[in-house]
Symmetry: C2
Subunit: 453 residues, 2 copies
């Protein structure tokens, strides 16, 4: 029969088993951390009616969407987890309790141009708190602590959370007479880190008719060493600015009670995060040793989650981690902890007698004790079976030969040390359990030595 | 602005938070059980190139597939987890260790006619063991124990695993001179339970030219009270039958060492499981009190996983659970354990002072102790906040008023008993942890009282 060459589509990540275990360890860590903050897990369909998913319409995103018909239904694959959340909350608003706190970790689809490190199918890990009509600033203040806990739990140490407030930016623009160009100005200052102050100034002046003096003032304000002090000096000149500054101060003041160390957190007035969605606090997170990869966790406060579906005012605050891309970058930069136990089993049993019952019974004993166990019953040489255990990094091999079976014992070999002992089944369970306890733990991320500590 | 009515597509399950938690508890239980048997988790793309996914071609499935183009690429959504596994193993065969044991729990898509209890997007939970050229019968013998452990861990008690062997059926057909019609006969006896012996006999005789006497002989053999004894009497008359009987005996003999109680397991010669795929042991699992819903976990042994992609012989054995449908049936029949802790948080903190720092700090303390905690900072009445905790079944509320803050204490209220105590933070942590330990546990399934025990 002619064979078809098996392949996986470009832009679709498919991991080998060891990497998959590392990836899932990251997902578990996120789930656990998000749960600690009282978020409930959610799962929504990957396919939605196109009219529902594209209610907002337009934009760059729409071109990238996987859209198709089945029968006479116009369908699309979700391109983020926010629109499905908006639909979910609008649809189920009478059955949910508000504030509604949910996390969702799932795949989304964007038909981007394929290139290294860009994915067409990728996991997003989102949390959002949705209020019913109003939502207290406390929720915005809590977000940096969730980001801090999340990355710390993953094993990352050298990162910083940057916070700003859209009302502060809006207030500053108003003060400087830039209300008319505020969208353009916002978009331009968002590029500050990428293109530098001089280019930003040139664009503001040349493209958006900002007076040179105003551009200078703005850039000076944005890059001030002590933003909160500089902002304090402007108090009373704009109601919007005052409100933004108060919110920003509330967020900053809470950081220590929320357990966020000072060196992991900063106010950065240049953080803008897009245009028409966020209305209050905005967040970015950068790896100190790899600022070039951009923000690894971003989000912000918005006023109206589901305006396309309902008249109900649903303000919220949320953050998102592009998990597939993050994993790719971490692997690329040598940040994955390869000491994690990624073996599919803790113990491999090698039966060496005709009657397999004693080996099977011991496998059952190990499993009942919570030890992940494989029975190797293939007709292969002893050496090949050990090579199999070795290739998979299975920590323990268990031999059951005639002698062991007759004596009611088993022989346990620690495959990393080579140490071998013949023990009673109960002793063997204890030995393996103790050894596993020592081997378990460890975070998915291990910062490479030589990072700038 | 005109609003668009939010909706979820028909045939796509979207759960409310409490149900979602129950569903995820089932998924976690499956992951844990599969891991105990040494299976490694796998994740493959939901989209594959159509030529890859449809390499086998034809059949009922193809009509149901979600197929579309993006750019000039012909794409399809996976309709099961077996074809992607075949692709994965063929593609990565040089990087994998064999036998390759993997589990995968993921969504698949079939554009079936929408009707109650039928889903177009649904989770499958599969395990497979893939051998490299050969695969020992021990792997087939192990599968019933995995099925037993899985459903027991889920909380189901009244179920039975039915086992047969395709070689036994093939051998019987050969003995009875039915080789020519074997596919038709196989398909017909697969309906035995549904339509009864008389109808099966009529179809065999009228439609497939089986002599009446032969049909009678076959039906008698298949429904014999002691299949293994009846088969033993036929020893030596067909090599295929002898091999099948030996395999079946090996599987049955291992059950006790694998820890499967006798009353959860039976040999049933009428189990056929489709036509052209399985070659050895086949499995079905039925709920004793709901045989009408059919098999809740099925599978079998096959000889050639990836013949469309590679010349390499890859025999395997696997089982699959249709998780979404199972969940739907369990809910429908009242089998979901509604005593499970499905609240998004273990504790809800109600700050009652202007300065929120003490409340925030205590939230941080609780979270550091592993207690899932929400801070309720909304401007709502005390009663509304308690109603919120009540609606979500959050077990504990924590009050921090002036008195508590000044005394360095917190007041903890057990919302199920109503008991309220003012304690030091450390005492409060201990109280909540102890209470949660008592509340945790419980299986996702709780058989309804009055089932036929």
């Amino acid at each position: 029969m002619a064979k078809l060459k098996p392949r996986t589509l470009s832009g679709f990540l498919e991991l080998l088993p060891e990497r998959q275990v590392q990836f899932e360890r990251m997902v578990e860590t996120l789930r656990r951390t998000y749960s600690l903050y009282g978020f409930t897990p959610l799962d929504t369909p990957l396919i939605e009616a196109s009219e529902v998913l594209l209610a907002k319409g337009g934009g760059e995103t729409e071109k990238q969407i996987y859209r198709f018909t089945k029968g006479d239904t116009d369908l699309s694959l979700r391109f983020d987890l926010t629109v499905p959340l908006a639909k979910y909350v609008a649809l189920h608003q009478n059955e949910l309790a508000f504030p509604f706190r949910r996390f969702q970790i799932g795949k989304v689809y964007r038909g981007e141009r394929a290139q290294r490190g860009r994915f067409r199918e990728f996991y997003q890990a989102d949390i959002d708190v949705i209020g019913d009509g109003s939502l207290d600033i406390l929720n915005e203040a809590e977000i940096p602590s969730i980001i801090y806990k999340t990355f710390t739990a993953l094993g990352l140490k050298r990162f910083k959370i940057r916070v700003n407030n859209r009302k502060v930016l809006g207030g500053l623009f108003a003060l400087l007479g830039l209300e008319r160009q505020s969208a353009d100005v916002m978009r331009t200052i968002d590029k500050l880190e990428k293109i530098g102050a001089e280019q930003v100034r040139a664009i503001l002046v040349d493209d958006f008719a900002v007076p040179a003096a105003t551009a200078g003032q703005l850039l000076e304000l944005l890059s001030t060493a002590d933003p909160l002090a500089s902002l304090a000096a402007l108090k009373g000149r704009s109601a919007l600015l005052d409100q933004g500054v108060e919110e920003l101060n509330t967020v900053v003041r809470s950081m220590s009670a929320f357990g966020v160390p000072e060196d992991h957190f900063t106010v950065d007035l240049t953080i803008a995060r897009g245009l028409d969605y966020y209305t209050g606090t905005v967040y970015e997170t950068v790896m100190l040793d790899h600022p070039e990869i951009g923000s690894i966790c971003s989000g912000g406060r918005y006023d109206n989650l589901a305006e396309y579906y309902t008249d109900k005012q649903l303000p919220g605050v949320g953050i998102s981690i592009g998990l597939t891309r993050l994993f790719f970058v971490l692997e690329d930069q040598g940040y994955l902890n390869d000491h994690l136990l990624t073996a599919p089993a803790d113990a491999l049993i090698l039966p060496m007698t005709e009657d397999l019952s004693p080996a099977i019974s011991f496998a059952t004993t190990l499993r009942d004790a919570g030890i992940r166990t494989q029975l190797h019953g293939e007709k292969k040489k002893f050496k090949q079976k050990l090579a199999y255990a070795d290739k998979l990094s299975i920590p323990y091999a268990v031999f059951l030969g005639e002698d062991e079976v007759n004596a009611g014992k088993v022989t346990v070999k620690d495959l990393s040390s080579g140490a071998q002992q013949t023990l009673s089944p109960a002793e063997a369970v204890l030995l393996i359990q103790t050894g596993l306890t020592a081997r378990q733990g460890g975070t998915p991320i291990l910062e490479p030595e030589g990072t700038n500590q």
